[in-house]
């Protein structure tokens, strides 16, 4: 039945039989699984009583019960303890009874956690449900809605994304009828009893004191774990804090370990009890497999019961043949190897998918971490067909129906056209770059089971109820905006939760594709780790401040003191104090002989290091060294990656190169389009070496770029060397702190290490040059060929030989005629210190010293920890963000948004109207009359800069009519940034200015002119989805601006903007969602 080699590791046997046995009888299976429970049976009461014993500090304000894989806890406000009838109220909380007349009945038997939740809702108490994605939390939300509808009370359902709201609206509308929808894009039946909306809308309603708020009895927050999101999470906190105390809260969350903490917060700020129902049981158990790169096998590493199979893991990891990544350094011209890798990977995916499909384990979701990858892989895979001809007909039918809503022009869009053949073969992609309509088509087809293989980015794991049988991770690494890192266990749990369809599959399959060897501990962390904690991402924004200042009786401090952030900080206090105590004891326990001497030595070596860096900086100041960067100059490159600075010791990584030869130097300028594309390609390509990326970024951020011909090691030798170094360091026993850092002799050692690497030209920022020699070698004009390159490098060693091993460096005083004050003093000081440290040379090698030094280093580490902890402690103790608030208020004052007494001004009121873009800059522009002077096309395109977030730092060339307004924007941004900085607000002005990206200005201008979507997509490399998102955001922003203009008394501008809205709001961009 199976290929023999697959059989023993790919454990499908048992489940396959079941599968066969049941055939279509999935319904039977579902019923068999569940024990019939009498719905009227009193629930849990016994278990509850037995478990109520508050012991730890943690548990004072709660009572626990555990039953059937579901944990039930209750948090209540502290004040209740001291109240007259407080104890009765607390006891009453445990009184859970399943309602005799439930607000709604379900066709299936409820799980224990669902039953408990329903009881809590029936009591009218607030509730947090924490369970895995597909375990059926929705039931709880639906019950809450049903109950509210029964009582004719308003109920609000909020979700993090618009698409999710649309879907929810459709689902609820079908069941309950009296349902409305409010998102930034669309409002349907706002008078309905049940309202589905995004959290932002609810927040805005709270600030505006909307009437709906006074009618709402229950608010359901779906996917509340989204609150930890850095940029948007704060919206949830604001909303929760601002809602009235009498509201019943229902939170639905993925599994989070600190749900009780959250519930306590709710009970504290809203003076009401909050129940927690937690279960980490998966309705469908999962099996985890590894698929090593280039292999033909799947290795079961975690079975349904969560046992990690070490033996299989070892086997899997060792089967990865180390294919050295030869390009450890940048070489834009040489892409063949990365292409090879890509090819290799897609073949791997092809094989896995084929294997899975053969075993009938489809549908499959393949998670890739970039949009481009999704597309490419899906394209390649769609050569195969996974569908029957009937299915193909259905797909075509649904597709045609959906597309029919678009205009003819829009139907010709390449993305739409090229999707059909792919869909027909049962393959699809789903990512943020897709047109919304395409996303919805894919979702619908997937939901109907026509899509067998879906390539998706992480966003797909959010909320949408789209489970598959199998989930494949195409890589264990993702690019998180700054670096490639391993995915966290929390992300893994969220994404793997898509595997296993309730009631359809007996178990879900999760396959992890591995392209490099990883440690078992790392793998265990990913696979079996804890879900991410729900931590507050609270931060302040100007819009928030202005809105709060505007309302009488509430101030920003009120909001901050009630934030989850503050709550969490306060809870940390005792723990931190204890930690500091423990650390202090530990550090006192370390007894070192000769401690004072060792300390002296340590301090000396630290100082020497500092001074050497200083000297290097003087020596290589671009102002001086620039002139010496002639072709042929010998230079040495050193890169320092810093991870943070502390009083004791620094965490850093130093990479050094051998002497290299300068080829060229140029000032940084805007790169040509082609280069840019290459760069972006690199970014997309996630297997690209970490180093390369880092370098690229550094290159771009420094002023001068030097092309240096240099000998680079290939990865293999780097690894070898690293190993050698570890061995060397072990042998050395810490006599020298870091051989690389202070002693010159060591460096020369390195120089003589004669391994042959690859010689190529690498770009470095001028600041990375750390030694400049007096010598130059001859550089021929044409240096393309490898031979010449090698010859030049060889000439270096010749120079070295002739000069008896040392290459003289430039001397700032002598050569630059440097007037740099302090250089000579620094040098003198350094020499003195070096002399001083020499006295230790004798005792340095005694074993006693070595041991002492080792101990001392560990002590210093502890001291550093204490320092960090103490810093945190003082942060926790103060009211959070107070400094920040102060500085923000100051900048508001100096920009005249509030007066000196802190009362909002007319300008501030205008800024209150704007919430989709940077409110300060837009208001400034409004008051400068910038929008009055430009026509509507310029206006829309200028506004696009506030909405378009792009990572690439390059700016396209703009025509004059667009450049002018954009320049005004950057000027204003700079001005505002400076004022903020003056007020003590930490801000990087350059980055701030760059966050307004003109990348879509041209596109938006043409769109406002009336060009078709097809035409405007040709103007840019951006994904269609990105353009649409920007244009939709634009419409929202323009509506706000129109109001802002009216509040200024500027009717002309307002009507101009309203005309613009009509121009922007058309065709496919604003095509209604298929769900509506």
């Amino acid at each position: 039945m199976f290929e023999s080699n697959v059989f023993d590791v790919f454990d499908f046997s048992e489940s396959n039989k079941n599968e066969k046995g049941n055939g279509n009888g999935n319904e039977n299976e579902k019923q068999k699984e569940k024990k019939p429970i009498n719905p009227n049976e009193p629930l849990l009461s016994e278990e509850l009583e037995s478990k109520v014993k508050p012991t730890l500090e943690e548990d004072i304000f709660l009572s626990k019960s555990l039953t059937g894989g579901c944990r039930h806890e209750i948090a209540y406000p502290e004040e209740w303890e001291n109240k007259e009838n407080g104890q009765e109220m607390i006891d009453d909380l445990k009184n859970l009874e399943y309602p005799k007349e439930p607000a709604t009945t379900f066709k299936f038997t409820l799980d224990p956690f669902q039953r408990t939740s329903v009881c809590c809702i029936e009591r009218g108490d607030s509730l947090l449900v924490s369970a895995h994605t597909s375990s059926g939390k929705t039931v709880v939300g639906e019950y809450a809605i049903a109950k509210a509808l029964k009582n004719n009370a308003r109920v609000i359902y909020t979700s993090p994304i618009k698409a999710l709201s649309n879907q929810k609206y459709r689902d609820l509308k079908a069941v309950y009828g009296d349902v409305g929808l409010m998102t930034g894009d669309i409002t349907i039946d706002p008078e309905s009893t049940c309202l589905v909306m995004t959290t932002e809308i609810l927040r805005n309603m709270l600030y505006k004191g909307s009437e709906i708020i006074r009618e709402v009895q229950c608010v359901i927050f779906d996917e509340i774990h989204y609150m930890k999101n850095k940029s948007r999470g704060v919206v949830w906190e604001e909303t929760i804090i601002l809602l009235p105390d009498k509201v019943q809260f229902v939170f639905l969350s993925a599994t989070i370990p600190n749900c009780l903490e959250f519930a306590k917060w709710i009970s504290k700020i809203h003076k009401q009890a909050c129940h927690v129902v937690f279960t980490d049981k998966r309705p469908v158990p999962l099996q985890y497999y590894l698929f090593p790169k280039g292999s033909n096998e799947l290795y079961l590493i975690v079975d349904e019961d969560g046992n990690f199979k070490d033996r299989n893991f070892q086997k899997a990891v060792t089967s990865i043949n180390i294919n050295p990544i030869t390009n450890s350094l940048i070489n834009n011209n040489n892409q063949s190897s990365s292409k090879n890798r890509r090819l290799q990977q897609s073949q791997d995916i092809y094989r896995v998918v084929k294997l899975i499909v053969e075993k009938n384990y489809d549908p499959i979701i393949v998670f890739a971490f970039s949009k481009k990858q999704c597309e490419v892989k899906a394209m390649e895979l769609s050569q195969m067909s996974f569908t029957t001809s009937e299915e193909q007909e259905m797909i075509q039918f649904i597709y045609k129906q959906a597309i029919g809503t678009l205009s003819e022009d829009d139907q010709k869009l390449p993305q739409i056209k090229k999707m059909l053949p792919m869909l027909k073969s049962g393959v699809a992609v789903h990512h943020a770059g897709l047109l919304p309509i395409m996303k919805e088509i894919v979702e619908i087809l997937f939901g109907e089971g026509f899509i067998k293989v879906l390539f998706a980015t992480e966003t797909f794991s959010m909320g949408l109820n789209m489970p598959a049988k199998t989930v494949i991770f195409s890589s264990t690494k993702k690019f998180d905006g700054t670096v490639f890192r391993n995915i966290t266990s929390g992300e893994f749990i969220q994404m793997s939760g898509r595997a296993g369809r309730r009631g359809l599959d007996k178990k879900g399959i999760v396959i992890l594709m591995l392209d490099e060897r990883i440690e078992p501990s790392v793998a265990k962390d990913i696979l079996l780790g804890k879900p991410d904690s729900l931590n507050s991402a609270f931060h302040l924004s100007y819009n928030m401040l202005l809105n709060l200042i505007r309302i009488e009786g509430i101030n920003p401090e009120y909001l901050m003191s009630r934030s989850f952030f503050q709550f969490q900080c306060e809870r940390q206090l005792p723990r931190k104090k204890q930690q500091i105590e423990e650390l202090k004891i530990e550090s006192n326990d370390i007894k070192i002989i000769n401690e004072s001497k060792i300390k002296k030595f340590y301090e000396l070596s630290e100082k020497i290091q500092e001074l050497s860096v200083e000297i290097q900086q003087i020596r290589t100041k671009p102002f001086y060294s620039f002139g010496y960067m002639k072709p042929g100059r010998l230079v040495r490159i050193r890169k320092i990656y810093r991870y943070g600075k502390m009083k004791f010791g620094k965490v850093k990584k130093v990479i050094k190169w051998n002497w290299g030869v300068v080829i060229n130097i140029k000032k940084r300028h805007i790169r040509r389009k082609r280069d840019e594309m290459l760069l972006e390609d690199e970014k997309e390509n996630e297997e690209q070496d970490n180093n390369v990326l880092e370098q690229l970024k550094n290159n771009l951020s420094s002023e001068y770029i030097v092309d240096v011909l240099i000998e680079c090691e290939d990865l293999e030798s780097i690894q070898k060397k690293a190993k050698n170094k570890i061995r060397k360091n072990l042998n050395k026993n810490g006599g020298n702190k870091d051989s690389n850092d202070n002693d010159d002799e060591d460096e020369e050692d390195d120089d003589n290490d004669n391994h042959r690497g690859i010689v190529k030209i690498v770009k470095f920022p001028l600041s990375d040059i750390y030694k400049i020699s007096k010598m130059r070698v001859r550089v021929p004009e044409n240096i393309r060929s490898v031979k010449t390159k090698n010859r030049i490098i060889r000439s270096i060693s010749e120079v070295k030989k002739r000069l008896e091993g040392t290459i003289p460096q430039l001397d700032p005083v002598e050569n630059y005629k440097s007037t740099e004050r302090g250089y000579e003093q620094t040098l003198e000081k350094l020499n003195e210190l070096k002399k001083e440290i020499k006295q230790f040379h004798l005792i340095k090698n005694t074993t006693q010293w070595k041991e002492g030094y080792k101990k001392f280093l560990s002590k210093i580490e502890i001291l550093t920890q204490i320092e960090i902890a103490e810093k945190q402690l003082s942060e926790y103790e103060s009211v959070i963000l107070n400094d920040k608030l102060g500085s923000m208020k100051k900048s508001l004052e100096s920009l005249k948004y509030v007066n000196t007494e802190g009362i909002i001004s007319e300008k501030g009121r205008t800024a209150c109207e704007i919430s989709s873009g940077n409110e300060l800059i837009i208001t400034e522009l409004l008051y400068q009359g910038v929008f009055n002077d430009i026509n509507i096309y310029q206006l829309t395109s200028l506004l696009s800069c506030f909405l378009h977030k792009e990572r690439s730092k390059t700016t396209p060339k703009l025509p004059e009519n667009l450049n002018n307004p954009f320049r005004k924007l950057t000027e204003t941004a700079k001005k505002v940034g400076k004022i903020e900085q003056k007020s003590g607000y930490e801000i990087n002005i350059e980055d701030f200015v760059k966050s307004f990206h003109p990348g879509l200005m041209k596109v938006v201008e043409r769109w406002t002119f009336g060009d078709s979507f097809l035409e405007i997509t040709k103007l840019t490399k951006n994904f269609e989805g990105t353009i649409i998102r920007t244009l939709r955001g634009l419409e929202e922003l323009m509506r706000q601006m129109s109001n802002a203009a009216l509040s200024m008394g500027n009717r002309d501008l307002s009507s101009k903007i309203n005309d613009g809205i009509v121009k922007v709001k058309r065709d496919i961009v604003f095509a209604a969602s298929l769900y509506l």
Partner: protein, 311 residues
């Protein structure tokens, strides 16, 4: 600071750069004032604030208004603006703070909440700039029906905007300074606050003035907070008319504050807690009893210190 005062129809500026704001219009390339008042410039925006006009509402303002009509599901309220304001049935807090949809029964019982000719305090919730519909709401328990007190009106531009418009003065008078120039004077619900005898005030230096402001703020916060707690937990029947005893002394203090406000208004001086208190203080120092305070010659004496302060 230069203050530019313009008359109706006067050219404010002929610079092309400026943007027109409230109270201005464009004519032959000139920016012309449509009202008589003071020119305000914020960056390039030029607007004219009229010296005397009806109340110009802003979102978030605390106002005092009079119910003029009970409609199907809202009340029409006169707040002294160009347009009537509306208080929706769903914009008020139901007794006990219950959160629910309003039913037709609620609509039938609207007069149980507010009747015609009753005074209320409220906050401006929203202004529709297209239709000029002004919506009010009573966001918290401190807003609502006003009874047992005295009502004063002054020109709205005299009201100085401050952080709080709900104040308890040191002499125990509750003061609601409506931004619309409608002012309500009464005695706070919980008058357990330690109220200093008015004769004990010695305000001479600015530092003490600061102290006075702080005290007013603190007092106000206390009394209003207490009130909040009470109402939320005890299911208080908020909308019932309650009669409370106001002593003769308290009446006199209310009168004193009322006449102080009128004195300020008469001299066209800004009205805010400190200025009111300064006039009250002066009246004690000069031994002018409340009744005499609004005599023209007395008014000049009383407001002299405020004038000094403003200079």
């Amino acid at each position: 600071m230069n203050v530019q005062v313009v008359n109706l129809g006067e050219v404010i500026t002929n610079e092309n750069e400026s943007i027109r704001g409230h109270g201005t219009f464009q004519k032959d390339g000139n920016l012309v004032s449509s009202v008589a008042g003071i020119v305000h410039r914020v960056n390039k925006l030029v607007s004219v604030k009229p010296l005397r006009s009806r109340y110009h509402p802003e979102v978030g303002d605390v106002v005092v208004g009079r119910i003029t009509e009970v409609l199907r599901n809202n009340w029409k309220v006169d707040i002294g603006a160009r347009h009537d304001a509306f208080l929706g049935l769903s914009a008020i807090i139901l007794p006990g703070g219950v959160q629910r949809r309003r039913t037709s029964t609620d609509e039938m019982n609207m007069r149980n909440f507010y009747k015609e000719d009753e005074l209320i305090s409220a906050e401006i919730q929203k202004i529709n700039y297209e239709t000029f519909k002004i919506s009010l709401h009573t966001r918290s328990f401190k807003y609502g029906k006003l009874s047992d007190g005295q009502f004063v009106t002054v020109p709205p531009m005299l009201i100085k905007r401050s952080k709080s418009h709900y104040l308890v003065l040191p002499n125990g008078v509750l003061l609601i300074l409506g931004c619309n120039g409608f002012i309500w004077l009464s005695i706070p619900e919980e008058s357990e606050l330690k109220i200093k005898k008015i004769s004990n005030w010695f305000i001479s230096t600015t530092t003490e003035l600061q102290e006075l402001e702080d005290e007013i703020n603190e007092n106000s916060n206390k009394s209003i907070k207490d009130k909040n707690m009470d109402l939320e937990t005890n299911n208080f029947d908020f909308y019932k008319k309650k009669e409370k005893m106001i002593t003769k002394e308290q009446r006199l203090e209310i009168c004193r504050v009322r006449n102080a406000i009128l004195a300020l208004s008469n001299s066209f001086l800004p009205i805010y807690p400190t200025s009111i208190m300064l006039v009250c203080k002066k009246s004690i120092e000069e031994n002018i009893n409340p009744k005499e305070m609004i005599k023209q010659k007395n008014m000049i004496i009383l407001t002299s210190e405020v004038k000094e302060l403003i200079k």
